[in-house]
Subunit: 379 residues, 4 copies
């Protein structure tokens, strides 16, 4: 029996004539921007060929079902706790996964995790040619080998072994960086965000990366029914292929999605927000002559909920202090004239901060919702 | 206290500083077509001013929350079982509802239901100027008065008093039709579809209408959480305003949505389907050289699930006999080469019937899903 | 057509032979205690006969569908904003609702709201014999008339017209109390909890009441799919009938459920919790000889989620600081030996506070989860 | 880091002070009966030590999270397609799984699948002592070795290699049976039910077994959010331990749950149904004097929906032809007096067949819902 079909089969409808297999994928909508496709990627994944708990093809099918575009399987070179049971070499998990990648259209990138205690901690090398030569006892040699193979190399969970808030940029990291061997940092790994690493990426021109570092089956850690997702690296690429992804990584055309937050440069986040939202123009014309309450429908076509905090409203207009533009929903923004004797200014706008769009550890994206207020003075 | 705010308030978040009201609307996505906006309308609704069970403004808020665009309140002229308790005239329900319409942006159309036993049964007159003059004892006079006011008049639930399958076109209906007083028929009312009425619309050039005829609160009869919706008349209009809606009704630019089915002319249904679906071109290139299974992602951006039945596939390709393109989901179409020794033709397509897009009582919309098959002969 | 069947009909299955109506009610499970039945009641409800937005029978069907046991329709005597449209007397809404009560088994109690500005604010009189004599211009006379009819009288939303935190016990309230005319207070009304009123109930021996004060259709304000419910008065009664309910009210055998919190006397809350929870005895035997982690399944058979905060654990045992025992779920309590060299005491227990079970404005219910710890010393 | 905690951790709440892990299990309620505990078991499961796709401990955590009580890991002796990668012996998957079993309380039974083409097809031997001696080239020898170790042996998916409807009892099966080496048959395996095998169990006194035969992660094949579950063998046992389970298997105290159906002997199914359902006595008193419609609430406390088909109702009473008693819901049974001039008999009952409780391939469980009808003659 074809194992794969067993694996991915979700629903079977029995009929007198035969069997139909049905598979549905809940879209994880993040809009394309700036003429790039927005690819959803996870570059830190384990299988039973290191300390993960599933066979490599399962990682591809999991990604397919979560609506991802590309993954890298990054089994540890040094840490293989199941090595008494599982014997194969460091290329094996990629070999298995890439077959499933072809079937599904998921781009699978060859990779490995170079595993050493801090400093410098763990590094992922993706876009490797051959993982086996990395198996030396010397982490610095391994990083150099990876670099010589043309790999894209990034520092993993930089707070390790502490889960969070302990990132430290040591001399060893400086050396790796100076050698041109550090191209990015995980500013997010699994449940954790690393603010210092985020700032380092901004300051040193490193690529921001966010990954799941998943070990058990993905559904053990994320409940898709609730809208949860693994952390991902968003790649803004010409196409979904290895070359375009690599090009975007080299050009820092990435953002990170984590726990409902988007982290990245202003130009990317602003355009993602802009392309997520639609407001009917007629809805922004607020008639405060005939009524003192107006309803504005804001449609969010993306799978990201945006959390808004009011920064400022025109005089004599009441707007909600907090407003969530719920993913895949229409949110109603209710504005009110709060003083009937004095009319609001005609052209106005509501200034909101989007608290889950992060430009830096301390900065958030600010936006304006335009209003055209009809008042007695209008006539 | 402002009753309206109480009415529409869904969630209140308590904070130290104040109260934020939040209202979310689950989008009911049906794409625009042919440069028209697709408006979701319900032209048959009751309130306590006839035999309904809610105050008129509630009908507007219900429509707003279900993502409708326009409604008509059609209280009975003759049948007012609560008249010992509720005393006002036939314009009163419109007066109340139209205030809520202005607040929310829902277009509210003045209307009434002319109520007589069969023949001719019940008729709705919408776009009335004044409902009170209709209160005569003579249904034919009432229809004439409505017509003289410029109303758009349609025959309701034509199988009445039988719930279904008993439509009969009598001499009285012929007379009303010959007088130019019948402009459309409900081919759907509440839980029922009327196939004969559907055919009459096609044969006699009448406008197809579908309505809820709702009496209790709308959530008593439809569970929106399950994706259920009231039946609606889809109006293909330049704008959401009374003039455009009337123009579309007069031009038979309507379709009916009922119980997950779309009923209408081929040009409308074909374009709704086309604008609902997106397939990545690269996904339709089926590589049968390196693998014998291909996965094709079909994204349905609309809130209508399309149910497909296989009419024909190219030789040596297995495709699912039945496939549902689930609303707001990505459905995976799995095709297989069923004979490795003989390769399928290179350019091919899958012919499917969409069983829930109805062109007539017996005809369904057929579509083709194009494939480009790579085989050994390709090279 | 029988209006009622239209009203309550939820799903219709079409078959060749006929129509089946299906109605499902999601159970709102709160266990019976102390040999009493736990009745779920709402004693503050409006219809179009005052300022509500639905016909009275709808209130009964809404209660039935939300799994309530008893309601009172409490239309205002003085405040009837729709009186130009709706003309009938003060007994009419009860008359209509009681018919639906007989059909469904919902106990409907005759009642009215005596409506005056503060002080003393609004009072509900339930178990009235005739509401019409209350229609005087003198609120004190009205309360006396209600009392003479044997009504149970309680003060509504005591913070009114402020939504919360403004309760004030005036001389007028003292007078009503001294006359024996105040038997309870709403410590909860709609979205609001009144801590001072809660304390007054405790101090003065008044019955704690919690109600919805619903005006629009109930689904406008509460999303049952999310597990939301209107506030309710829980009545611990011998039977579901008027006499038993009245007896419980007179004996202060009530608790209030509001926004996921239970408010009441310790004996009631303790027993509700106890009867909600089941733990398999074998699960509480924690084997710290062979492993250093133990999983304890705690099943919550009720529809109330209990939120636990750790007060204290035995030395050398780690237990979660916060734990939610989710409604209708099994929650897993993970305990760990945090020091392998020193073993925990053998008999031990975890002390938790249940933060959503409120004994007074400042006191919560505390409970102990017993453990039997196996350690090396055990042997 | 403890891999297990990573594996089973579902939700992490970040607080300033630390981390709380939360795991919730949706109860799969099937009532205990006849003084036995009803244990939910799956005795056919694969891991990467044969052709499954996950590490053995994952199988235990999956079972724990689906609310099962006991499992057997049944890796193939002969069929190990990953043997170039995975090297260990036939006891290894049990060794790994049993550690997780102790942590969670899931009973893990040592087992193996003896794998041969038909006849006789595949057999599971559970309650093995040592799986390695089975690795001979001779299936009959293997079965004998298993039997000599005291294993409980059952025939798997008896229609194999055809998915269904091809069960054939060959001479080889007769020989195995005559030797006392066949103790049960899978009447259900994964998506398939085997009616002939069901009848053989009844005729030959074999134990009915139903299993998942799961290869990928369990969530690939079953959507628990939709209420789906793997097929299971229900064991009616004194306790959840190996001895009691074995005792029940030997005594044929089992039933099978598959795709929403329960299959087993009448005494078990009747008691499961009886212990699932509660009807308030007062609700069964149907008052046809004052009204002609009665509502009867039927609460189903189990996680199995019961599908009822009307066999017969008393004269002059209309009852629904089909009724589903939805899992964990209250279903409302609406009965009507269909002839006001003639009153129904006073004591009456509704006869229903439960179409998803299967006593044999062709027989279903029938039940009676008692009514006490009040009519004019009653007085």
């Amino acid at each position: 029996m074809n194992i794969f079909l067993t694996g991915l089969m979700i629903t079977m409808c029995f009929s007198g004539m035969g069997i139909t297999q049905e598979l549905y994928i809940k879209p994880f909508n993040i809009p394309d921007i700036l003429n790039y496709k927005t690819l959803k990627c996870d570059f830190h994944i384990h299988t039973i060929f290191s300390d993960g708990k599933v066979w490599p093809d399962i990682r591809v099918y999991e990604a397919y079902k979560e609506d991802l575009d590309a993954i890298a399987i990054t089994d540890h070179i040094e840490h293989r706790p199941f090595s008494n049971d599982v014997k194969s070499d460091h290329n094996r998990s990629y070999e298995i996964a890439s077959v499933a990648g072809k079937e599904t259209g998921i781009t699978v990138i060859k990779a490995a995790e170079i595993t050493h205690k801090m400093p410098p901690g763990h590094f992922n090398a993706i876009f490797l040619k051959d993982s086996n030569p990395l198996d030396t006892a010397n982490y610095m040699a391994e990083i150099e080998i990876a670099s010589n193979q043309g790999a894209f190399i990034f520092w993993n969970h930089p707070s390790y072994p502490h889960p969070e808030n302990k990132e430290l940029w040591s001399d060893v990291h400086q050396l790796i960086f100076d050698n041109g061997w550090m191209h990015g940092i995980e500013i997010v790994n699994s449940k954790y965000y690393y603010p210092k690493a985020h700032q380092w990426c901004l300051d040193k021109g490193l690529t921001m990366i966010g990954n799941s570092d998943i070990h058990p089956p993905i559904t053990f850690d994320y409940d898709f029914q609730k809208g949860e997702h693994r952390p991902m690296t968003l790649i803004f690429a010409e196409e979904n292929n290895k070359k375009s992804i690599r090009n975007a990584l080299d050009s820092q055309r990435t953002a990170v999605i984590w726990n409902g937050n988007l982290i990245g440069k202003e130009t990317y986040l602003k355009n993602i927000f802009k392309n997520s939202i639609s407001i009917d123009h007629s809805d922004t014309i607020v008639d405060f002559i005939n009524q003192n309450t107006a309803f504005i429908k804001i449609k969010n076509n993306s799978s990201i909920s945006y959390h808004l905090k009011l920064l400022g409203a025109p005089q004599h207009i009441d707007a909600p202090k907090n407003l969530t533009l719920k993913a895949n929903n229409i949110s109603v923004l209710v504005v009110k004239a709060n003083n009937n004797s004095q009319t609001p200014t005609q052209t106005a706008g509501l200034d909101y901060q989007i608290t889950n769009l992060w430009l830096s550890p301390s900065e958030r994206l600010n936006i304006k919702i335009p209003l055209l207020v009809l008042t007695d003075q209008t006539n």
